[in-house]
């Protein structure tokens, strides 16, 4: 059948992304063989439509229109393999039939959106076809899936074989009736945009009819618009509607798209929640349900879920019977999903989620030939490079940035964002100035040609560097598996100044933290996060959300630490000690009194609990002591407990290691502690001594030589206190040896007076006894700073 004289233009109202519509369109086109094809879409795309026939072009793809100087102002027209528009375009291009897009030019539509800023978030279509007319009709008929309804009602009625164009005529009538109920044949008068778009469509349709003849024109557009195309209006009236629209210079190109984004941007016409299923419906020649079940079985087998052919048979039967029960001629997606769940997934939704992600939505990724014009991301990058005076050069060079300056901050952010997008133009380098301060950054810059390709690839994420980096960061956060990955991502987001991505990242972080049962992971994640909080402060980013998450994380560490410390082996204990240290530093940095108090309570619990390994107990005691949270005698008591004869020498040595690691001055200063260690050490039975020796050696070998010598000399001098006669007299002053050598103490006073510039106070010196005690010399150690200060206060 060829062009029917007198039939008028072939108006094909479709359901966007409806495979049923696509098949009907193809059949009608083949039957009518029109001379020109008009498609709903921006006319600017006429210039690039040829690329659709390119052999490297693989749907899903999208037409992307953006304002030249403002790549953020953009709109997408996604097309999948099963979109009627795509099918029609490919048909026309294969036969040399000219294709014209006849919707309102993007030059206008992009400008009239005005307030809408987000690129790609909301296509103009979403607003235009704000209701899915086929869905409305299907729902009126009691169907939940408009695609099924279309197939049941339109295709399986046998009308197709008789006259492929008949369904469209019927549909046009139905739409006309639907539009009547929503405010007249020209649609809802409240939506001027629709009126304007349809006026433009009519004008272009008239042009085409004049040029090619009435019967040689075919139109593919949303079913909603069909009645408006045949409405009787005058050219002048239509022109008037189009007058004075804002206009911008735009560019248009093709970009790769994904099924996942089709599903996410469900605003485009149809609400494509199941692009994979639709693709399957479109591409399978027959027996769609049987083929679908086989696909599902294959997928599940790949994931090591045992699914036999018997399962497939049963699933198909169940789906068929379900469809019969529900009064459907054939099983739809709903029936197949129910059948898969009951037969193949043993009622569980977990494997079903896999089926949903991989098949129902699908992971198809489109491809676009290299010849199509550059993506706007490239332009945005070039523009930013110009404004920041940061030229891409092939020669490698170093760049020092001072983050206190605005321009340098912007540069740093750009580089961080690019790194996030996989465009490694700059690598962070260790600066010549060293790593002092957080306001300096050093980068090694080198622009390699392949980076241009990377930029083009990154174009899928967005049209501007910041937008793309944000989208990428959000995607990374969603996909991240380990907690540490997300914390690192959070840090990178802060460095890159991606405030918009932070909520998503934070959410992912909070979720991972909540579900991570390993305190070690939490404790590992905490320091990076706390660092980020402080970075955020330095860079003026809003780190409130970050702080909240960090505090939540700290709380979880507080709750989870005590049980996690029980029953550890030596390696586990050593690791745990590291975690305790890291968490401690982080929590102190957070500077929250309440939290700190809670943390200290946890440390105290740990320090006193027997089941906790010695090295952790010792470490907790030390941390408390350093913070001044242990009563005078407390440290000695804890050490005494840990080193009492009943304790295993190995455990005691571990305690010593935990307590004394990272600084031995403590021993040099507190003779009582030294005494305890000494007593314990000399009391170890010979056979055990060789066992604990490596531990002790590890502990003491890490000390600075000076400290080691001091401690050694102290020990050689012999026990001065602890337990000896007369000790009780001086017990009140911890940290110092017993017995006061008055003569030697007095000898210091003249020099001290000189230093302080005071006169000798003959009979005075009210605080003398105490001070003297404090000033009791310890020639072989440095004088504790506190002592001199105390003397001043005394004066």
């Amino acid at each position: 059948m060829t062009t029917v004289p007198g039939a008028g233009p072939l108006l094909m109202g479709v359901r966007h992304h409806g495979p049923g519509s696509a098949r009907a369109v193809l059949a009608a086109l083949t039957a009518r063989e029109p001379k020109v094809l008009l498609v709903e879409g921006p006319p600017e795309a006429d210039a690039v439509v040829e690329a659709a026939a390119h052999e490297e072009m693989r749907p899903p793809v999208a037409l992307l229109a953006h304002v030249v100087d403002e790549p953020g102002r953009a709109a997408f027209w996604p097309l999948a393999e099963f979109s009627p528009e795509w099918v029609a375009i490919r048909w026309a291009l294969a036969r040399g039939v000219p294709v014209r897009f006849f919707d309102l030019p993007a030059a206008h539509s992009l400008m009239s959106e005005g307030s809408e800023e987000s690129a790609g978030e909301e296509e103009p279509e979403a607003e235009g076809v704000r209701l899915d007319p086929l869905r409305v009709l299907a729902e009126a008929a009691g169907h939940d899936d408009p695609e099924r309804w279309w197939e049941d009602v339109v295709e399986h009625r046998g009308g197709l074989s008789a006259d492929p164009c008949a369904p469209f005529a019927v549909l046009a009538d139905a739409m006309a009736a639907l539009r009547e109920t929503r405010g007249g044949p020209l649609g809802d008068p409240g939506h001027r945009r629709d009126a304007v778009r349809e006026a433009h469509m009519r004008l272009r349709l008239r042009e085409a009819r004049k040029e090619f003849g009435d019967d040689a024109v075919a139109v593919v557009c949303g079913a909603w618009h069909v009645p408006a195309l045949t409405a009787r209006t005058t050219v002048t009236a239509d022109r008037r509607l189009l007058k004075g629209l804002p206009k911008a210079k735009t560019e248009i190109t093709w970009v790769p798209w994904t099924h996942e984004r089709l599903a996410r941007h469900s605003g485009y016409g149809a609400g494509i929640t199941s692009p994979g299923w639709y693709g399957h419906l479109f591409s399978s020649p027959d027996r769609p349900v049987e083929r679908w079940m086989t696909k599902v079985a294959r997928l599940l087998r790949e994931e090591d879920i045992a699914v036999s052919s018997a399962h497939v048979i049963e699933a198909v039967r169940l789906a068929d019977t379900l469809a019969a029960l529900r009064g459907r001629p054939l099983p739809g997606l709903g029936e197949t999903v129910d059948a898969v769940r009951a037969v193949m997934c043993e009622g569980s939704d977990v494997p079903l989620a896999l089926v949903h992600d991989r098949l129902i939505v699908g992971d198809a990724l489109g491809e676009v030939p290299r010849e199509v014009p550059a993506v706007p991301l490239q332009r945005d990058l070039a523009r930013t490079q110009r404004s920041l005076r940061l030229k891409p050069e092939a020669r490698e060079r170093e760049l020092d940035l001072d983050l206190r300056g605005e321009n340098d901050t912007a540069r740093s952010r750009l580089l961080h964002r690019l790194r996030l997008l996989g465009v490694d133009w700059g690598e962070p380098a260790r600066g010549r100035t060293g790593t002092t301060g957080t306001f300096r950054e050093t980068w090694r810059l080198c622009w390699r040609p392949e980076l241009s390709v990377r930029v083009a690839e990154a174009g899928v994420w967005g049209t501007t560097v910041v937008g793309a980096a944000t989208a990428k960061a959000e995607a990374l956060a969603r996909d991240a598996e380990a907690l540490a990955e997300v914390t690192e991502l959070a840090e990178r987001c802060l460095l890159a100044g991606l405030g918009d991505a932070l909520p998503v990242v934070m959410r992912a972080l909070a979720d991972r933290a909540a579900l991570d049962a390993d305190v070690g992971h939490l404790a590992q994640a905490l320091p990076a996060l706390v660092r980020s909080v402080r970075y955020g402060d330095v860079r003026g980013t809003d780190a409130a959300a970050l702080r909240e998450v960090a505090e939540g994380l700290a709380e979880r560490v507080c709750v989870g630490l005590p049980p996690a410390c029980a029953g550890l082996d030596a390696d586990g204990a050593a690791e745990m000690r590291g975690h305790v240290d890291a968490a401690h530093r982080a929590i102190v940095l957070l500077e929250r009194d309440e939290l700190l108090a809670r943390w200290r309570a946890v440390l105290r619990t740990l320090a006193e609990r027997d089941r906790v390994p010695g090295v952790v107990r010792g470490r907790c005691a030390r941390l408390l002591l350093d913070d001044g949270r242990l009563e005078d005698d407390e440290a000695a008591r804890l050490m005494g407990l840990a080193l009492s004869p009943g304790t295993e020498p190995g455990d005691a040595a571990a305690w010593i290691e935990g307590f004394l690691a990272g600084g031995g001055m403590l021993l040099a200063h507190d003779e009582r502690l030294l005494g305890l260690v000494d007593t314990w050490l000399t009391g170890i039975p010979g056979e055990s001594f060789t066992d604990v020796l490596p531990l002790l050696r590890r502990t003491f070998a890490a000390y600075e030589p000076g400290v080691r010598r001091t401690v050694g000399e102290l020990v050689r001098r012999g026990p001065t206190g602890s337990g000896g006669p007369g000790a009780a007299e001086w017990e009140a002053v911890p940290g110092f040896g017993t017995g006061l050598d008055g003569e030697r103490a007095d000898a210091v006073l003249p020099t001290l007076r000189l230093l302080l510039g005071t006169r000798p106070a003959g009979s005075a010196a009210p605080a003398a006894p105490e001070d003297r005690k404090n000033q009791k010399d310890r020639k072989d150690t440095t004088e504790p700073a506190g002592t001199a200060r105390k003397a001043v206060t005394a004066r």
Binding site: G334, L515, G552, G560
Partner: protein, 387 residues
């Protein structure tokens, strides 16, 4: 009190019931709990009268009518069919459809999700008989699934058909009815596997007599199993393959669950003669919220994820926590259900594994309960018992 008596002893009260083992009341005072086909005989009859759709062989009703019987509705002749199961329509449809094919149906779910209830009503609606029941226990023997012997007859006459005692499953096969197996996973694995021949070959050989019983069309089997204690006797994959599995979910909305708990607690309270306690609904809502949040692993506002403890935290457990709280409040408290009355019960229900669950519970307390508006008393009460 007269009202109460009236309700227990009185007229049929075909209320919608989600809970398991909810006792239906009856007009026949003899049976404490009549069978589903007797309690709802009227509805079944009305459905049979209007049902003009094709019925599988030996089905009393068409699949459509069975689904309507379970989900409730109004028939063209004006009869109101009460809903027996309140939950997703999909589940009932899949279950009914499965019975119409020759695959057996396995109903999975945590305790208190109306598995037994659904299976009983399905059997009643499909075959008009819900009594062909094998109760699975650790001691269920092969005889209970296949056949046993009347030993007196056996000794007197030797092996013969008269000496054979058929199991419910065998009778269902012979008559083309629905057989039911309760708590399938409690049955020892070797006994479970006797079902394989029955379900795949649809025959039950009797080697002693050199005969076999072949299943007649209309025969099928509904099994229920608790999916939380999988470890008991996990089904072999050969057996599993013979079943279509339907998981019965916990109540979907908090309100529905609060409603179930409140209704059930009231019933139990009456039967235990607990004094009526006013204003318990707030506390019930709190208990249900805690249970739901920990079970789902996310707070009701959907903003914070949580770890889920090892216990099932089913609606049935929420009911027992509240009942316990009521008893505390009535006998030792001031007669008002307070946070402190339910706190200990909640702790017991949540912390099943003393190490892991305790951490989960404390995290929940610190991260969620502490911050929540108006939950101060609850937080304090829980801290007290958890310390």
């Amino acid at each position: 009190m007269s009202v109460v008596t009236c309700k227990v002893m009185g007229e049929p009260e075909p209320a919608a019931c989600e809970g398991e083992n909810v006792t239906a009341t009856t007009s026949a005072p003899a049976a404490l709990r009549p069978h589903a086909e007797d309690a709802f005989a009227e509805e079944l009859k009305a459905l049979e009268a209007v049902d003009d759709r094709p019925r599988p062989e030996r089905w009393r009703l068409s699949p459509w009518a069975v689904a309507t019987y379970l989900l409730g509705g109004t028939l063209p002749d004006g009869t109101v069919v009460s809903p027996k199961y309140v939950g997703p329509r999909r589940i009932v449809e899949v279950a009914v459809t499965t019975l119409a094919t020759d695959r057996a149906l396995l109903l999975l779910g945590v305790p208190g999700t109306a598995k037994t209830w659904v299976s009983e009503h399905l059997a009643a609606a499909v075959s008009g008989d819900s009594t062909l029941l094998v109760q699975g226990t650790a001691g269920t023997a092969e005889e209970a699934v296949r056949y046993g012997w009347n030993y007196a007859q056996l000794l007197a006459k030797g092996p013969s058909r008269e000496a054979l005692v058929p199991s419910p499953v065998m009778r269902a096969m012979a008559d083309g009815m629905i057989a039911r197996v309760e708590e399938l996973t409690r049955i020892p694995a070797d006994v479970q596997d006797t079902l394989i021949t029955i379900l795949s070959e649809k025959t039950l050989p009797i080697p002693e007599l050199g005969e076999e019983v072949q299943a007649v069309r209309g025969f099928n089997l509904i099994a229920t199993a608790n999916d939380r204690d999988k470890g008991v006797n996990e089904l072999s994959s050969a057996l599993r393959r013979r079943f279509n599995t339907v998981v019965l979910p916990l109540p979907e909305t908090p309100e529905a669950e609060v409603d179930i708990v409140a209704r059930r607690v009231e019933q139990i309270g009456r039967s235990l003669d607990l004094p009526a306690v006013p204003d318990g609904i707030d506390e019930i809502r709190r208990v249900v919220t805690v249970f739901r949040e920990l079970r789902d692993g996310v707070t009701t506002d959907g903003r914070t994820k949580l770890k889920s403890p090892s216990g099932t935290l089913s609606t049935a457990e929420a009911i027992s926590v509240v009942t316990g709280g009521l008893a505390l409040a009535a006998h030792f408290g001031d007669g008002v259900l307070r946070a402190s009355d339910v706190a200990a019960g909640i702790l017991g229900a949540v912390v099943r594994d003393p190490a892991a669950d305790r951490v989960i519970w404390q995290e929940y307390l610190e991260a969620v309960v502490r911050e929540r508006e108006g939950w101060k008393d609850f937080y304090r009460a829980c801290r007290e018992v958890s310390a």
